[in-house]
Symmetry: C2
Subunit: 234 residues, 2 copies
């Protein structure tokens, strides 16, 4: 299966790639509900897609349903986990042990997706050395030493926005391949690529930005526009 | 200005609507950096857009730059805040006082965007009555009573996924207009609309889904595909 995907991997379109984590999440929920087979129509209904889109997507990575039987949920889930790198055991560090950082360390957000949290860093002397979810918070100044001694694939930025750009550049220079950014700063892959160590094989870190505030404002905007569309309101 | 937007509001395209919170965030960062005027080109550079796209977007809601001067950041920020409903003083409740819920209550995510957190609810007797960021956690069973006595615009779902659908239906029946969903469940606006109280003026709650796990998996997928593209790796 590994080889099969390796051949197909780079051919996945951007749209399909965006939907893969959604499939993974839904298949996981199905397994939790003990649903072991599902038709493309049912899966589509749960995801707000069309049955033909689901069939087309799942075809892209070799998942095929059987007429009158549907998809084997467990098989599909395993296949999806493989494609998404759940079995790669990516290793992550958290930079910033504030409220959000602590919440993320506490939940099973990482482990349930095959990512291992291997270190939590902060620059506040009041926090360094303290326990967060059973882990000691390390001094941010020791990042370079830590990364030299330990493989780190992903850094999660839960520090303040004003520190984000400099930290991202530092992480890029350390060859960290993935940055999961929760600050308000827009991190650019092309800017960070310039800091990438010359001995590293690929071009720079991948960045995934999560702007929680943007999402809240999007909701507020929606509320406000609906108010305007219904003059009867209030 | 209010009237000006009211006329223009519904005409905003979906794409522009999606970018508005980003503009708001960037303008806020500019003000924090004491940058009081900016050209469309500079703003575009910070946001990864083109200058002409910025000019076009900002034109949509009456913001106009001056040739050779650029945009007045403060003016634009105020205008944007108005459009996004920051001045509406939307009122939110948090449902689920677990790690993520507590982190969100603790930060200034809400207040800095004009949203007031008016209540935190949980169903766990061990948590009810306890303090979270200076607020008492209320019994989830009292939601109906609370919403009858207090205006609530937005509910933030930070409870477990298995409770999400039933809770969203309950919130829809209470006429809550906005649901900010952090669970793994896909909440559908059309499904929830069926629970909307008949006396309410508009068609159902707006839903904004934030799937943190999807975002992490997207990053892992990116890491994995780049590995495959660079056979020299490891």
């Amino acid at each position: 299966m590994e080889d099969e995907y390796k051949a197909k991997g780079p051919a996945l379109s951007k749209q399909v790639k965006c939907r893969l984590p959604r499939y993974y999440r839904h298949l996981k929920l199905l397994l939790e509900e003990n649903i072991l087979r599902i038709s493309s129509g049912e899966l589509a209904g749960r995801m707000g897609l069309t049955a033909s889109q689901v069939r087309q997507d799942l075809n892209c990575f070799g998942g095929c349903g059987q007429q009158g039987y549907g998809y084997n949920v467990k098989h599909l889930f395993t296949e999806m986990a493989e494609i998404l790198g759940v079995n790669e055991k990516f290793r992550a560090i958290l930079v910033g042990a504030g409220n959000l950082g602590r919440a993320m360390a506490a939940g099973n957000l990482f482990l349930s997706r095959g990512v291992e949290l291997v270190g939590i860093f902060d620059r506040d002397p009041a926090v360094i050395g303290k326990q967060v979810s059973g882990r000691v918070v390390y001094d941010e100044g020791k990042l370079e030493v830590f990364c030299a001694a330990n493989r780190v694939d992903v850094a999660v930025l839960t520090l303040t926005s004003s520190e984000a750009q400099a930290m991202a550049e530092r992480l890029a220079a350390l060859g960290i391949r993935g940055i999961w950014n929760f600050t308000n700063i827009e991190l650019s892959e092309s800017v960070l690529a310039a800091f990438w160590p010359p001995e590293a094989p690929v071009g720079g870190p991948s960045v995934q930005n999560v702007y929680l505030g943007d999402s809240l404002m999007q909701l507020c905007l929606e509320l406000r526009s609906r108010e305007e569309k219904s003059p009867a309101a209030e």
